[in-house]
Amino acid sequence: MGKRILLGAVAILLLLAAGYGAFYVAPEERTMGLIYRIFYFHVASAWAGMDAFFVCFLCNLLYVWKRAPKYDWLAVSSAEVGLVLTTVVLITGPIWAHPVWGIWWTWDARLTSTFVLWLLYVSYLLLRTLVEEPDRRALLSSLFGIFAFLDVPLVFGAIRWWRTQHPSPVIMGGPGSGLEPTMKKVLFFFVLAMHVFAAFLIVERYILEKMKNEVDLLQREAEAL
């Protein structure tokens, strides 16, 4: 219990500090002005969300291989947290795009693939609600999770056939890209804070899922008596 409170406190403090950094420490962007500051929140959520989906994929593979329920619990927890973070990405993106691009949405490669990724994990969670038996649910959703994750690079590759409007990669991009050093520090701090926060949410959700399973088990035992 103590450890969970500590993790939660650290996560929230880090996020507050990151928010302070994004608003007060990072310098103003020359052309976009104030609105660019949402970029820290946007990129950090995207990064943490992708990593949460990756954890989900690893747990899907581990479940199919080892068949231990704990992998299924971790998979559903990280899928849900990943979905929330991706929702944040899909909301903060248009808020930024409207003043900067003049439009809320464009069918560009990264926007569209993020949206398809979001849809795939909505389907994943939906599938889970439609299978009663826990072992069957874990196996079927793990297999779907694997297929869905394999699909992600294909979705991205396919949509790149269309012209792309999203800003080209700033981090680890080609020459000519890059961030001012303070901006970079603030961004990486924000990414770290978001990861700790995501980890905290996943741990909490995992404990909840575990308790839910215990309650289910007890209920079935009580009915059998």
Partner: protein
């Protein structure tokens, strides 16, 4: 018996089942026809717009039809629990998937070939000059729909609300197939046709990725 002969025997069984009733083919043909007509009502395209939108609409109709047609694929094995017998009969469960996906690809292709002349007439698009390339796109795309669809119909058959669930699982997964086959078809049916080999190769890669995934994970899909 090896994988090859197992698959052939099972494919024979799938085809026999279908050609005795022909219900899958007839309903899918009518379904695609209805969708194509409704699309034309909904957007009322001029002949230039038809060239731009027509192929995309055709692929959308194929995807919808596929997601309905693939429903009974594993569902009809449940009625008399024939799936367990199938599993006992073959040494490699991949043969079951292979036979089913080959049958599904064939059914989809037959429907598409029946639909093409009507599509050409309704949307006023000449298809004959590029027919061989068009058939190649249709084959690669339909294979993708069938491979992913067969795998997912094995999943959805074991869940509640399965009729609604399969399209929900399948259609997002098929986004790459839709995007690429529509783009390739549009440039094939353009006034100055271009064969996009890169797109064809991409479709082949999609098919291979899902075929490999099915080969590795297929047996778990059929677990009792």
């Amino acid at each position: 018996m090896g994988l090859f002969s197992n698959t052939l025997t099972l494919l024979g069984k799938e085809l026999r089942t279908e050609f005795r009733s022909r219900e899958l083919l007839t309903t899918t043909v009518v379904f695609i026809l209805v969708v194509l007509i409704l699309f034309s009502f909904a957007i009322n395209p001029t002949s230039e717009e038809s060239r731009d939108f027509g192929p995309g609409l055709l692929w959308l109709a194929i995807l919808f039809a596929g997601s309905l047609m693939l429903q009974p694929c594993f569902l009809r094995e449940q009625a008399n629990d024939t799936l367990s017998s199938l599993r006992l009969a073959v040494s490699d469960p991949f043969a079951i998937f292979l036979a089913k996906l080959m049958a599904n690809t064939l059914f989809l292709l037959v429907t598409e070939i029946l639909m093409l002349p009507l599509f050409a007439a309704f949307y006023n698009i000449p298809i004959l000059p590029q027919l061989h390339y068009l058939l190649l796109v249709l084959f690669l795309g339909s294979l993708g729909v069938s491979v992913a669809g067969t795998a997912l119909s094995a999943i959805s058959a074991q869940a509640r609300m399965r009729e609604l669930l399969l399209p929900l699982l399948l259609l997002p997964i098929l986004t790459p197939v839709l995007v690429v086959s529509a783009t390739v078809s549009v440039s094939l049916l353009d006034r100055e046709p271009v064969v996009q080999w890169k797109g064809m190769a991409f479709l082949a890669v999609f098919d291979l990725v899902f075929l490999t995934a099915l080969w590795i994970f297929g047996e778990y899909l059929l677990e009792e």
